[in-house]
Symmetry: C2
Subunit: 343 residues, 2 copies
């Protein structure tokens, strides 16, 4: 087993779920890379907080330089959430400059600084993955990145805020209003204490910006997005004869981008009619492939963690190739060591 040193930046629900996956990842799939993850440090705001996983033998710190300056840490797993976006960007920046690979999950900070972070990672020749920022368990970022070099995407739309979708589904099913549905979602851990970013469409806006950036290579300015809040649909009586969803829609005509985030009334023949609970769906229209859609759970620590775990393995795969080729060349040339960089 080859050991890979990692550290967590932030350690809430998502971080703890990723931690669990890492501990059992040698049991999953065929694990042909024979990797064992070693967690060297965890950066948190409150080092005394009780954790649901056993971290007694791991260095818990509120000084992120402990991670940045530790040469044994090759990959940083960022799970800070939206509350401290600026701090998150500061830490990720420092980590990239020290050559550490990054797996990100915090959409707000990433959306606001997307071009900068991507360019920085490229300049420092660092692997950057951010699948978990959009669509939870749906591998939509990877899909769009692959498509954007072989196809032209003209339109993307769907449901990308699982919290709002869960709340609307609850209102449809039972005879409850939005406030009550939000309370239930909070108790189930589907939404955080402040659900206004979800209901008002800001969470979907950040995600739409990320999708547009990678799928259409257009950088939307966050301050120009005006999502329409779902707040006008607070009353369950409105759902008697129809289904309402929070939909994002972005379209490119030549190089002009137009977009919408907010309520849309759906007919029963629409695929999104049956996207319920905390599920997401993203439709992608492209020149070569027509309409495709990707569906999966959008919220929940477990699904986000699974996306981050796939990202981690993707970095491992990339580096494994590098190593394999180095080894082959060293043997061929009868030398001990060369340094090989693929980008």
């Amino acid at each position: 087993m080859k050991k890979v040193g990692v550290a967590f930046i932030g350690f809430g629900t998502v971080g703890e779920e990723v931690f669990k996956l890492l501990k059992e990842s040698h049991l999953l799939g065929d694990n042909k890379f024979e990797i064992e993850f070693e967690v060297h440090a965890i950066f948190v705001r409150d080092i005394n907080k009780k954790r649901i996983v056993d971290v007694s033998d791991i260095h818990i710190t509120s000084n992120y330089l402990d991670i940045i300056n530790n040469p044994d840490i090759q990959i940083c797993i960022e799970c800070m959430g939206g509350a401290a976006a600026n701090k998150m960007v500061e830490i990720v920046e420092a980590a990239i400059k020290k050559g550490k690979h990054i797996v990100m999950s915090s959409k707000k900070g990433f959306a606001h600084n997307m071009s900068y972070i991507i360019d920085l990672a490229s300049y420092y020749n660092v692997q950057l993955r951010f699948e978990a920022t959009v669509g939870g368990a749906i591998p939509i970022c990877r899909t769009l990145m692959s498509m954007s070099s072989t196809d032209d995407i003209s339109r993307m739309y769907g449901v990308i805020n699982a919290t709002t979708n869960y709340v609307l589904s609850l209102m449809e099913k039972g005879d409850i209003d939005m406030d009550k549905a939000i309370d239930i979602a909070k108790k189930k851990g589907i939404t955080e204490n402040d659900s206004s970013e979800d209901i008002d469409g800001w969470d979907a806006a950040y995600k739409m910006k990320i999708l547009t950036g990678i799928g259409m290579k257009v950088d939307i300015n966050c301050s120009e997005i005006n999502p329409v809040s779902m707040n006008t649909y607070k009353n369950e009586k409105m759902f008697k004869n129809t289904i309402i969803r929070q939909i994002f829609y972005v379209e490119r005509n030549d190089n002009k981008i137009s977009y919408y985030i907010g309520p849309v009334e759906l007919e029963k023949t629409n695929m999104m009619y049956n996207v319920r609970d905390n599920y997401n769906i993203v439709f992608v229209d492209s020149r070569s492939s027509g309409t495709r859609a990707y569906y999966g759970k959008g919220a929940g620590g477990k699904e986000t963690a699974s996306a981050m775990h796939e990202d981690l393995l993707d970095i491992i795969k990339h580096n494994y190739w590098l190593e394999l080729s180095e080894k082959a060349i060293c043997e061929k040339l009868n030398v001990n060591k060369i340094n090989l960089v693929l980008s």
Copy 2:
């Protein structure tokens, strides 16, 4: 622009669509690999048949050795269809043994010889792609291959025969029986002359075998699959109060596989209820990601061609990495040439 030599093995609707995509592929996406495809030869059964694309400056041959023995051909694009499965396997085998990379589309021949072809390609260190064999425009093979090394898939199900789905959709919409619907599908080019492989479930069976092989690493014996034909639903009257779909279902419990292919009655709340016309959907349940689904057009030359084009670009990317690293090493060591193999 770097030139990549390719040849077609078979040249029906799909082949011609791939040909068109290759001719315009430098216009698509960001084309960062700066590739120009050069078609050196086309293997066909009837060299005098009229083609809808201009192939006047290309060597058309009914002797496949012209392709196998041409060192300028690096990638073979197989579009022979299901009618000549044995011949197809014979040609692919010969091409692999000469070190040519392969992009496949014929599901029948591939399903019957899947393990052998994959092992052969691995032995000869040849890149093999077969996205187009299942699900048309849906990138399901790539997705399952990536998942199978990081996750455990317990269940797959959905609609994978677009022809049957198109026929059933027509019956639902209009007041027509199956035979009439099949006639319309034929005129639209959605089905070939003999639609019995579709209606009887054999087409879905081959695809299920391929998905199970790559997603669950289990090789189902084709002769043990007993698909249930849709033939008992020939009468449109049966669709008055319900929707019927041809569904494939495969489940793994420990190492025991159970499966079903045939008619299933769907409720309106089911996601598959709104999968109509020539669309496909594949649901994948896994340990880490819960339920995910992939939706897109399943039949049609254009969609299949798009899948093959993505496969081609995927091989190019792989080889581009190889070249980049070779170049970097040559410069570092001040030598002219090394041979580097990544697998």
